[in-house]
């Protein structure tokens, strides 16, 4: 802040008006990266919660300590089903996050276009 007037000018032109210019750039660069990181972290947490690594490592280990043949067979299929189920759940969640990201990407552009389009259409009619 070199001088009071300079500081006030910075507040007005850079922080307030300038932010309008900075908004789209931020949205598709810093903002996008922030949302992506948050989504990836959330998915990673879900991935941990579903314990895929543990389940794959123990794929042939019988569940509930049932070490007999029937127990092993039931466990194998059970694990397979659960793993597939969890994978589907994770994919659905990933899809939701991807949708969110797509929305993030599309929202300002579509909304701006819609605004302009609707405004022009309204003016013309």
């Amino acid at each position: 802040m070199s001088s009071p007037s300079g500081a006030m000018a910075k507040l007005l032109f850079v922080d307030l008006i300038g932010s309008v210019v900075w908004f789209p750039i931020w949205w598709y660069t810093k903002g996008l990266s922030m949302v992506t990181i948050k989504s990836v972290n959330a998915l990673r947490y879900r991935f941990q919660a579903y314990a895929f690594r543990i389940w794959i490592r123990n794929f042939f280990v019988p569940m509930y300590g049932q070490h007999d043949w029937s127990g092993r067979i039931v466990s194998f299929f059970m694990r397979l089903v659960v793993l597939i189920g969890r994978l589907i759940a994770l994919l659905v969640e990933a899809f939701v996050y991807a949708l969110g990201l797509a929305l993030w990407l599309a929202a300002p552009a579509i909304l701006a276009l819609l605004t302009v389009f609707s405004f022009i259409a309204g003016t013309v009619s």
Binding site: W55, G65, S118, G122
Partner: protein, 908 residues
Amino acid sequence: MDKIPNPESVPNSEAIVCSVCGGDPRASVKCKVCGGAGIGVASSDGFLVWTEKVDDFSVAFRKIKRGVTTGFHAVILVFIILTFVVFVWRVSALDSIGVVGTFNFWIVGHWYVTLLCFGLFCGCFFIFRLFEYSKVEKVIPTWHLTESQLEARDSKVAKAEHRFDVSPYYSEQARDVVESAYKITKDLKRTQVDPHMLFSAVLTSPTGGLFMARLGMDFNKIKEPLARFMVAESAAGNPPVTLSRETKRILALAYAEARSHRRQYVSPMELFIQSFSVSLKLQELIDKLGFPAEHVRQVAEWVRLQEKLREDYHRFVKLAALKPKTAMNRAMTAQQTPLLDRFSEDLTMAARDGRLAPLVGRKSEMDSLLRAIESGQGSAVLVGSNGVGKSAIVEELARRMVAEDVPVELFDRRLVSVNLAQLIASGDPSLAAERLLTILNEIAISGNVILAARGIEALVGGSGAGPLDLAETFASEMDKGYFITVASTTSKAWTEYLENRSLGSKLVKVDVLPLGADDTLRVLMAKSGVIEYRNKVFFTYQALDKATSLALRYMYDVSVPESALNVLREAAVVARKARGEKTFVTAEDVAGVVHEKTGIPVEAVTQSETEKLLEMETHLHERIIGQQEAVAAVSQALRRARAELREGKRPIANFMFLGPTGVGKTELTKALAAEYFGEEKAMVRVDMSEYQDPTSVARMIGVPGDQRGGLLTEAVRKAPFSIVLLDEVEKAHPDILNLFLQVMEDGRLTDGVGRTVDFTNAIVIMTSNAGTPFIQAEVNRNTPLENIKTALLERELKGIFRPEFLNRFDGIIVFKPLTLDEVSQIAWLQINKIEQRLLEKGIKFRAEDKAMEDLARAGFDPQFGARPLRRVIQDRIENQLADILLRHQVERGDTIVLREDGSLSVEK
């Protein structure tokens, strides 16, 4: 840029000043080279500088900016809401709401649709503004890194050359502090914001309030001296007010401090620590006001530790959510363990529910434990005394297992603490063995259980459970390697029951040594929050410090930190009951609890006690006639002890009283006990003539296995604050005297049971008649007492006591044989006692002077001192008195007179 060294020698905090403006506060404002920084500190983040100007305008501007930003956001938000309201209002007025679902509706050009779209667009803008502009402070770039990652990064990255402005990383509160320092400087009409102003500004902030409360500091009391100090230490002058070079350096260093402690922002705390550390004069001032620099730093550390624990707790809660809520592991390979569940507690479950506290310190022990498990040796045993923190380590292991921050051997498993005492409680060895094997079988099948066996000596029958011995069974099962055990035991039990057995050899021993004062204090700091919350009280730093020092010094049955924590727990209750909730627990509360528990007066010396101590000689001479040297020596020893000037590792004093019988050696000891320890009985008296053979050592200190202990050790253990009087010490066997070499030198003695008995609060007095003929002969020759003593030590006592024994005494005091005049005074003392006893019956007593002279003469014997006097008084007075009383010849209010001829008469 030129380097200037740091006066406080903080590592890596060397400041570099601008070569153009020289870091001059005023010149640097317009310096093009440094851009107003003037001074900076090199770091791996860059060259740390503070460039932001702090003046009236910037202070006001920050407020304006905050107001404008908030107002701007409010306007956008209102506009967005309005667009929605208008849209809903217009749509609700439509003939058919269904048209909203048609594409045409959105593109046909309705003004309210345009408005809504623009409103939603503004919504995006609002999100952007919130992320980018609502938070003024920036997060320190390395905040997200773990400690090891940060260390690794700093070791790789060299100090960066580019300039790094630290001001954006200051929290709102920290900025407030900087501005507040500016205002203080201005109010005091100074020209530069010095570190002292920063320090004062922190004190006036909310964080400072917490500091002062913990430290027991009253701001109103320090306000004026601090203001005077600030005025004296900085130059007066006209505005503008600028940040001094030292302050700019502190502002940069505060960032480095916050970064190294993995803080999110620079907080007032870092400013406080830096501004305080940099000024020795400020430290001196605060010290003079009663707050040592070390205490100030410790309190800062305390506040920071509690903040860090809060952050850690949030991180832990998030990780704990991944751990299953039941005994089933995440891989679902486990099986039910009904018998184990009956005799155990699931520690991982307790940790998951937040019922286990985090461990403070003990990093090396934790590492050793994990290494033992990881190395494939399987099981480990924590060995340490009671209260040292073995359970805390086991509980931390459970917490780490919840967070899965453990070696792969412990991954996705649960830590189960089996109650061994309950397991073997049946008393039937075969049943206990069966139970143990069934439990181990369940563990084997389940496969996800790590066994925590606290007090593993119970398996050997070491907990007093009788002849039961499951150790071999357990050891042979361990050999099969299908389960991991984390056991714990005391050092004594380890040596006695486990070390030389197969069970002991199969466990990797991890020693848990008692904590030092600093680590104990840190544990108390970490755990104090829970006690405060439960009792609704607050601890001052002095309370914690006192609990640490007193527990370390006076409490031996349970080790620190447990003993210190117990003291704090009780002190909190005492304070709450005495002064109600929301009160501060002080050092005196803590001292009171310790006094009650140990019987040792550890509170600060009161005024009345001070007077008593200063006039100790006078009080003692009320009972002791003559023997000035002896009375002065014991009085001085007590004053030294109470003023806490002694080292604390030896008894309060070790004295040897030498002299003929009946000169007042034992009487002085009794008088001392009565005067200072409250009663004559506060004395452990041992007649050493009973300890003439070497086997009597066992009587004195006890024999192994006999829980009763020894006569001496038990007496001192129960009453550590007392006099230990060893009569006729020359008659004791030399082996017994050897025991006292250790007592006199180290202040402790280990009894037959293995307990260490503390003698540091006792006064050891030994009396001896050795050399009596020599003393009497020399006194008759009027040889000075000092010469007699030298001759005694050099010649007379050499054959009786070993030189190292004599060397350990603080004073060898020679009691002179009594003169007739002294015996006469003693006679008066004795008569006074009789008078007192009769007064209790309502009868007065008077003695004529001549009768007293006769009495003294009859009772005087140069060889036996005042001893015959008692017999004479008994024969001549007490016997007659008894007759008079039994014959009812005297009534209440009468006076009995001792006549010149030695007879007693009654005056009505």
